[in-house]
């Protein structure tokens, strides 16, 4: 009975204002498409150097209006992964696809300018594309260094230089902002302000952001997806899931942080030489998803493990959505 009524109501609504309905549907589809538009996606991507995989089996994608943060210890391949995503490095395995005409704004981890080049902040802002004075100043205002517009780059402090680089990247109005440790050398108050700024940029421009950070705590609030790297994707998910996952605890240590300390087993351990020891005692060069060591028949029974499973599932889902 109820079903009939409902069907009747829907039919009425459709016939009554078919055009509006169709328009609505169309609009919904369009916003859907725009939101779903993948700026960059990596499928099982890897980089081989001198017979060693720097990173391998990386699956990740960034959409518009999404903030993806890569975390991981030194040498985990965070910068390498970011450079894969933006085309500075080419994948030796797997594939990377970028949206056509993708406009990227990039803040690299390291940038050493020979001091013999006389470069003012104003000139640095126009490094890769022309820029109106007004936009230039607006970007410097946003990062808090408008007074340094005519200063020479080599006289800037580390934090000031970092702010200038960030201003340069955002002034380009990119589709994708790639920030490799954007707040290194910035003082504590400034750090929070810059993360706030990054959040604002995302809200106002709707660009995708790929960020690299050592510290999940600082970026937590503004991040949609956290990917924990250590040569491969250790775990992924929302900041909450990742911060409680076993892999994160393993890599960053639970103590000394405000998080509850979990004690649990883990299906693999990273040895100091970069090899991976698995729960069955075997040692492999890498923790590649396909190496057969992520089997689930070994003993667990820890609370922390569930998170790990979740992360695995999500990563599998992520991989599927790329296909």
């Amino acid at each position: 009975m109820l079903l009939h009524q409902l069907r009747y109501a829907i039919t009425c609504a459709m016939t009554a204002d078919n055009r509006v309905f169709e328009k609505m549907l169309h609009a919904m589809k369009q916003t859907d498409q725009r939101a779903d538009e993948q700026l960059v996606s990596l499928n099982n991507a890897g980089i081989l150097r001198d017979g060693r995989w720097l990173v391998r089996g990386i699956d990740l994608s960034i959409r518009r209006d999404e903030v993806v943060t890569l975390i991981g210890p030194n040498g985990a391949g965070k910068s390498t992964t970011a450079q894969l995503a933006i085309g500075v490095l080419r994948a030796d395995e797997g594939s990377v696809s970028r949206m056509q005409g993708l406009r990227i704004g990039y803040v690299p981890q390291k940038l050493s300018i020979d001091w013999t080049m006389p470069l003012s902040v104003r000139r640095l802002m126009r490094l890769t594309s022309p820029l109106k004075d007004q936009d230039l100043m607006a970007a410097l205002d946003a990062t808090g260094i408008p007074h340094l517009v005519d200063a020479e780059v080599r006289h800037l402090s580390g934090g000031e230089f970092q702010r200038a680089l960030l201003a340069r990247a955002i002034a380009r109005k990119p589709d994708l902002l790639v920030l490799d440790e954007p707040v290194q050398g910035v003082d504590f108050a400034g750090e929070a302000a810059l993360y706030e700024l990054i959040r604002t940029i995302r809200q106002t421009t709707g660009c995708g952001i790929l960020m690299i950070s050592h510290d999940l705590h600082m970026v937590m609030a503004g991040t949609d997806t956290v990917i924990c790297l250590n040569g491969h994707v250790c775990c992924r998910g929302t900041p909450e899931t990742v911060s409680q996952s076993s892999d994160y605890m393993k890599l960053f240590g639970g103590s000394g942080r405000s998080l509850a300390v979990y004690s649990h087993n883990h299906d693999h351990t990273h040895l100091p030489d970069g090899r991976v020891k698995h729960s069955d005692g075997s040692i492999t060069d890498h923790c590649h998803p396909d190496d057969g060591h992520h089997d689930e028949d070994h003993d667990h029974g820890h609370t922390g493990h569930e998170h790990h499973e979740n992360a695995q599932e999500q990563s599998a889902e992520g991989a599927r959505s790329h296909a």
Binding site: I86, R103, I104, Y106, L111, M117, L127, H155, R172
Partner: protein, 275 residues
């Protein structure tokens, strides 16, 4: 007073210096002094091949310099040896092979010293046309590629990420370098081409507030050095290349004296931000 050959030498030298200025800045900024040296040394191999195959000297020198720079890039990519060692090997090998080849060709008599250190008597009206034509080509190329060249000098990674193709830019830069070496050889000589590239650029650094001005000043300072050096060469009967380099060095030393520093405006703007 001025003999015809001397006017030609001055015109040729000024043409070379104007061309070398902006390129010299990039050599300094990109820390490619030794790279430039290697390309220049390979010019002697180009001279030998030109004599052997009876081809145009300019074409031969340009071709060999391009080949050597490509070889360098390929070897650097393999990363089997440090760039420094590779440059050392290629630089001196190219020079040595050139000298050996010239020695083998007993039927040609060439004045090696004039190739190694420049000879103002050797500038023909045809050379003058080649120098100014080639120089105009190089300057047009630099102007056209200025933005990508500067961007990839600051950061190849940023340039690549933001769509400027730094690999292509680097290749283009090599071609320009090879062309400059080919046209500068007669005036300053193979051994001293890099000096004409680097010293005026280094001198210009202190007066310049932007990369663009540094390129312009480097050209002008180079031209002054060439004129001074050539007059010295005529007066003291010294080889033209070393005389030009000595003149450039004098300008550099002068620029180091206090009071010659940066323009006052730039100094004020940087007040309080010195790190």
């Amino acid at each position: 007073m001025l003999d015809d050959f001397f006017t030609r030498a001055i015109l040729a030298g000024v043409g070379v210096a104007l061309t070398a200025g902006p390129l010299g800045c990039f050599v300094v900024w990109r820390r490619m002094a030794y790279f430039g040296d290697t390309m220049a040394h390979s010019a002697l191999l180009g001279v030998a091949l030109s004599l052997f195959f009876q081809i145009n000297l300019l074409v031969s020198v340009f071709g060999v310099a391009v080949l050597v720079s490509l070889l360098l890039l390929a070897l650097q990519r393999r990363q089997s040896l440090s760039a420094d060692a590779l440059l050392g090997i290629l630089s001196h090998s190219a020079l040595a092979i050139g000298l050996v080849l010239v020695a083998f060709m007993s039927w040609v008599r060439i004045d090696l010293i004039s190739f190694l250190f420049g000879d103002i008597l050797a500038v023909t009206p045809a050379d003058l046309g080649l120098i100014w034509g080639g120089g105009a080509l190089v300057l047009a190329g630099v102007a056209l590629m200025w933005q990508p060249l500067i961007a990839s000098t600051v950061s190849e990674e940023v340039a690549e990420a933001e769509g400027l193709k730094p690999a292509r830019t680097r290749l283009f830069f090599m071609l320009l370098m090879a062309l400059v070496i080919a046209i500068a050889m007669k005036i300053v000589g193979i051994m001293l081409i890099t000096a004409l590239l680097i010293i005026p650029a280094a001198t210009a650094r202190r007066f310049s507030a932007s990369p663009e001005w540094m390129a312009v000043f480097a050209s002008l300072l180079g031209a002054i050095a060439v004129i001074g050096g050539l007059f010295g060469s005529l007066h003291y009967d010294t080889p033209s290349g070393p005389s030009i380099v000595v003149a450039a060095l004098l300008l550099f030393v002068l620029s180091l004296l206090p009071g010659f520093g940066k323009p006052a405006a730039a100094r004020a703007a940087n007040k309080g931000v010195r790190g």
